[in-house]
Symmetry: C2
Subunit: 421 residues, 2 copies
């Protein structure tokens, strides 16, 4: 238990977070909600200082030649701060999962065994650009009795420091330990890499950002990772599909918000349906501003379509581009999706009950839809009321994650001298 | 989708397992149980061939100078094969978790959302010595609708090949795909390393074996890992502890089966209790054959105790050795456990309700006991009826894992043209 003088920022803050986590995990729902309310109030009180810090990040970003899209993600304004405050107020209203008794039984020997929900301990979030994630991650972790180590990107550094200082001032007035929220200010690659392996203090690592960041964390980290992921989502139009439903769902899934993970990136069309309805459907996509990368059959009937490469079928465009392929039947569609998809959200448009069931059962994804848009895969849409992320892994949590995803379980066992024989 | 002629054994079998997993996940409980019954029958039928193959492993082991303990772990005999068969018969009786509807709701827009239990897909088990793990892992995975890739150790190679051939012959007579069970025959480090990163085909990796193997997998693997772990378990005797309960529990936790993960490795004693009862308690441990590594206070009163090092407090002895430390109070005990423990099973002996609650809430472990032996942390003792392992991680499953730990979930969503607005 000797302490080096040159202990790194990451280790020092990791240890503080771990110690705070042992205090956090016995705080009552009332204490946690009271602290969340104080954070909301403090954000409004310190609005001007936060916007001033954000202005520095924006100016640095412009000087460093960041794109308008990225600058927009860094940007805070009164409305966005109000948005954070609203999210916190909604979070306060959600039920606290901690302490829930999931199983309870008494063995023949008199041992009373209870399985209870407990906090994870220390959660570390590694994320990009958006400073609202700072407040979001901190408040979700506090609500679930966890301590949190935040590691944002250099482009939002001043905003993040201002937001976390503000959270600290609110926590000082609350019953929660100030150390429960730690910000790693050094945004070098070294600090990320240190977090990947800090098993001693970190229980779970959650990356939030683009595919490159997530892949890096999954590949490198020895700390357990909650993977929130990319979405190369498909819509498959089956032979029996209703034209109107097909058109409406495809256009919604592709264009309603193309930059998010549950937007469709690829369209598969059964060959008979394609002969009858392919051209008008694809034209209506073009009319909605969508660029089409198709296979040979598509390019034959559709002027303006470019030939899709193998690579295109594996690409999450996150823009108004879609890859299109004509397939023989639902089996080929399922194989294609299981090969190229990212196991996020997949849809079939069909009137054939048997093909619908086959698609539901055989497609390997968090959320599989019959006759509806992939855009519904979302914690709020599902009614979970808080958006920690959408897990694309199969362990722990899969699909939209509500507050219970930030908890673990623990067995509480009470006896009066029982021994094993 | 080009295929290299020099494709490795691991990739080739990984692909076969993945393809089989898409067939497995729609098999009915009856089909799966029928196949399990056929495996049990086949094991009895091929008993002689299995024992013959095992004999080769034992002979090779002797030539290679393996210890008697390891040779005993490799050994199969009629009784052990009968044990495998019994386990399979019990597994058949357990409820099938696959298909269970965990949540079901209809949204205002008419979307019907169901959250169902589904198989994980492809599970890979990396394990040491014991050939019974081969049958155990294969049948647990089949029961839960998964395909499995087995990678045992070279010391049990012939036994594993014989057992998997036997399973294959049983599967040929069943409705399940033979490819659902794959054995990696090449037991070089390279094949383990390949499995660590085969995200394309493997959904979850489960290491079963010693701490070194588990640490290696956790450190190296980019495939998600279900960590079943080491147990540096403590018993803490509080000021108010009843002497008889303390003695009975400590001796049971340490000596009833010292080689397993839920055995106690360290004893903490409150200082006042120690003054009154320390010497007789430790003497009765010595009389039970236990070697004591204690702090200075322990060594003062106990002839034959050796001085414990910092390292000793962090060691899982898995033998009749225990480290002992005198502590000021329950708080020091909790801090010590959270620092040196492996978050497995921890016990307090006390008559103080408040200290018991504090210990239950603050000790960070899968299973925390009041006045009972740590030895109860076990799937069979908890009534889960199948022992996949004891998870010491916080994600997915924590503590003894029943069949549901080998499943994931999936959202089934049915609509009639719903789009997001």
């Amino acid at each position: 238990m000797t302490q080096s003088i040159t202990e790194s920022e990451v280790r020092r803050k990791g240890k503080l977070a771990k110690m705070a986590s042992y205090i956090m995990n016995v705080k009552t729902t009332e204490e946690k909600n009271d602290a969340l309310g104080k954070i909301a109030d403090q954000l409004l009180m310190e609005k001007d200082a936060i916007l001033e810090a954000n202005q520095k990040d924006l100016e640095n970003g412009k000087q460093n030649g960041l794109s308008d899209a990225i600058l927009d993600r860094i940007l805070l304004n009164e409305q966005r701060i109000q948005g954070m405050v609203e999210s916190i107020r909604q979070l306060i209203e959600l039920p606290d999962p901690v302490g829930e008794v999931l199983e309870s039984f008494t063995k023949e020997n008199g041992l009373k065994i209870e399985k209870r929900r407990v906090p994870l301990g220390v959660v570390s979030m590694i994320y990009e650009a958006r400073p609202n994630v700072t407040v979001d991650a901190a408040t979700l972790c506090l609500k679930t009795g966890n301590a949190v180590i935040l590691r944002g990107s250099s482009s939002a550094k001043h905003s993040n420091i201002a937001l976390v200082s503000c959270i600290h001032r609110a926590l000082e007035k609350s019953a929660l330990p100030v150390d429960a929220v730690q910000l790693i200010e050094d945004t070098s690659h070294e600090t990320a890499s240190e977090l990947f392996h800090l098993k001693e203090y970190i229980d779970v690592l959650i990356p939030r950002g683009g595919k490159k960041l997530i892949d890096l964390v999954v590949r490198e980290a020895s700390v357990p990772v909650l993977e929130t992921g990319a979405g190369n989502c498909h819509v498959y139009i089956d032979q029996s599909a209703d034209y109107e439903i097909a058109e409406k769902v495809v256009i919604n899934a592709k264009t309603q918000r193309p930059s998010v993970c549950n937007a469709a990136e690829s369209l598969l069309i059964q060959e008979d349906w394609f002969k009858e309805h392919g051209k008008p459907l694809l034209e209506s996509l073009q009319n909605a501003g969508v660029e089409i990368l198709g296979d040979e059959k598509v390019c034959e009937v559709l002027p303006g379509a470019a030939l899709a490469t193998e690579e295109d079928y594996a690409t999450e465009f996150l823009s108004l581009t879609i890859s299109v392929k004509v397939v023989k039947d639902v089996d080929e569609a399922i194989d294609h999706i299981n090969h190229y998809g990212t196991k996020h959200s997949e849809a079939i448009i069909t009137n054939d009950e048997q093909n619908a069931e086959k698609f539901l059962n055989r497609v390997d994804a968090t959320s599989v839809y019959v006759n509806a848009s992939t855009r519904f895969t979302d914690g709020f849409e599902f009614g979970y009321g808080a958006e920690i992320g959408i897990s694309t892994q199969k362990l722990h949590a899969r699909g939209p994650m509500g507050l219970p995803a930030l908890t673990s379980t623990k067995y509480y066992i009470r006896g009066n001298g029982q021994i094993r024989v």
